[in-house]
């Protein structure tokens, strides 16, 4: 580069309206989930995929990528995360809630007595 600008020269980066961000989702191998890994700046989805491949799939295994416009993501407000407060308590939705072994043992004991 022989034509470097002088240090005192002001060079301004213009805000390129129309460059948006895309959220990138990465899938390691078939059968696994796509996980969110970050964003790329791109003018459209095709360029976003081109960029995402090198920004987020430079290492390890990758089988697939999704890009979604940041604008298209609908997210819950963190202020509303209280709607999940009681969920962990709903043990009746978990396998571990059902203690069947005790009943079986009791039944066997009773049968033994007859």
């Amino acid at each position: 580069m022989t034509d470097l600008p002088e240090a005192e020269e002001t060079v301004e980066v213009e805000h390129p309206e129309g460059w948006i961000t895309y959220e990138v989702f990465h899938q390691k191998k078939r059968g696994t989930q796509h996980t969110h890994v970050g964003i790329v700046h791109a003018p459209n989805a095709e360029m976003a995929i081109v960029f995402a491949k090198e920004s987020f799939a430079r290492r390890g295994a990758t089988t697939n990528l999704w890009v979604v416009k940041s604008e298209d993501v609908t997210a819950l407000d963190y202020d509303d995360s209280d709607i999940f407060d009681t969920t962990p308590e709903k043990a009746y939705r978990e396998a571990g809630f059902y203690k069947t072994r005790d009943k079986i043992e009791q039944l066997k004991e009773n049968e033994g007595h007859e």
């Binding site: 580069m1 034509d3 470097l4 600008p5 002088e6 240090a7 020269e9 002001t10 060079v11 301004e12 980066v13 213009e14 805000h15 390129p16 309206e17 129309g18 460059w19 948006i20 961000t21 959220e23 969110h36 890994v37 970050g38 964003i39 790329v40 700046h41 003018p43 459209n44 360029m47 920004s55 430079r58 290492r59 940041s70 604008e71 993501v73 997210a75 407000d77 963190y78």
Partner: protein
């Protein structure tokens, strides 16, 4: 260390007044519980400001940091070193990309950040204002400066801001490779021909002062600092990080039979603290404010890239699309 510490400006009372006390209390409780703050959460004005500054300057450090080593990609001796260096320097641009994205979630656009870099308003790690003169310098940077960066990054990855932590996790993973290849290349020199050994020693002699400057001057615990600690923006003092670095890496230099140009450098057997000659902080401030060996050149290269690349970015403008804040 990514630009001389945090804004040491006297607290502006009116900014404080803008923070709703109830929200502030809830915010601080969240952090105390170890929860992360996410982009659209309420946050104190100063929290946002300090984080933007910190993450932005970290991002600038990555892309400027790519330049001294980048000049040696074309000169790397052999395939192994060439490919490792290409991958490493490319990673650094990638880190910059991730960090700009994290800062962006706080409301400052990438373009604004670039402008502040080019105008000199935003800083980057001082250590990159020095030139890589020999191949040994490339190895010293890959070894000791990446080591210092890792100390800092591992600590910061426990911070409170979600996007920054996530970026740092990825960065720390990649930095492990940087350190390994840097150390490997450095050890090759130290265990090589007398010429190579001399190159390595000479490199250490020249780079030791900038390395000692890396973590910034000793920071007394001010009210300001204390609040940043409570907010998990600042997680360790500059002194603590410097001690950690010295403790791990000085022995690794000494085990190669090489010296560091500080006769007072030693670990105090009783206090377990490393003692050293206090670096010249006047030099540090002089360099970070623009008067270092490579400041002008570094920014000139970025300006060149910006000017030469402008037509590309302009050509791709899609006027139908409107920018929104990313999630990162």
């Amino acid at each position: 260390m990514y630009g001389g510490g945090y804004t040491g400006e006297p607290e502006k009372k009116q900014e404080q007044a803008q923070d709703d006390p109830a929200l502030l209390a809830e915010f601080e409780a969240k952090i105390a519980r170890g929860e992360k703050i996410e982009p659209r959460d309420w946050m104190p004005v100063d929290y946002r400001k300090q984080l933007i500054r910190m993450i932005e300057q970290h991002a600038h450090s990555e892309i400027i940091g790519a330049l001294p080593e980048g000049t040696f990609i074309t000169r790397a001796p052999g395939f192994k070193r060439k490919m490792a260096l290409m991958a490493k320097v490319q990673d650094e641009i990638g880190h910059g990309q991730m960090l700009y994205s994290a800062a962006e979630t706080l409301g400052k656009t990438r373009e604004q950040m670039f402008n502040d870099l080019l105008s000199g308003k935003s800083k980057y790690s001082n250590v990159f204002n020095y030139p890589a003169v020999t191949w040994a310098d490339v190895t010293t940077i890959g070894f000791l400066i990446d080591a210092a960066a890792i100390v800092n990054q591992v600590i910061n990855s426990k911070g409170s801001y979600g996007p920054y932590c996530r970026a740092l996790e990825r960065i720390c993973y990649e930095e492990a490779f940087h350190l390994k290849q840097g150390h490997d290349a450095f050890v090759s020199l130290a265990s090589g021909t007398p010429y190579q050994r001399q190159l390595a020693q000479d490199s250490l002699n020249r780079w030791w002062e900038p390395i000692m400057h890396f973590f910034g001057p000793s920071d007394k615990m001010s009210v300001h600092s204390e609040r940043l600690m409570r907010w998990k923006v600042k997680l360790a003092s500059n002194d603590d990080m410097r001690q950690q670095f010295l403790n791990t890496y000085v022995p690794k230099v000494w085990e190669l039979g090489l010296t560091l140009p500080d006769p007072n450098l030693k670990k105090n057997a009783e206090t377990k603290q490393w003692e050293f000659t206090e670096p010249n902080w006047d030099t540090f401030f002089k360099v970070i404010n623009g008067d270092g060996p490579c400041n002008k050149e570094r920014l000139a290269v970025r300006k060149w890239a910006e000017e030469k690349g402008r037509w590309v970015r302009q050509a791709l403008i899609n006027p139908k699309e409107k920018y929104t804040l990313p999630y990162a």
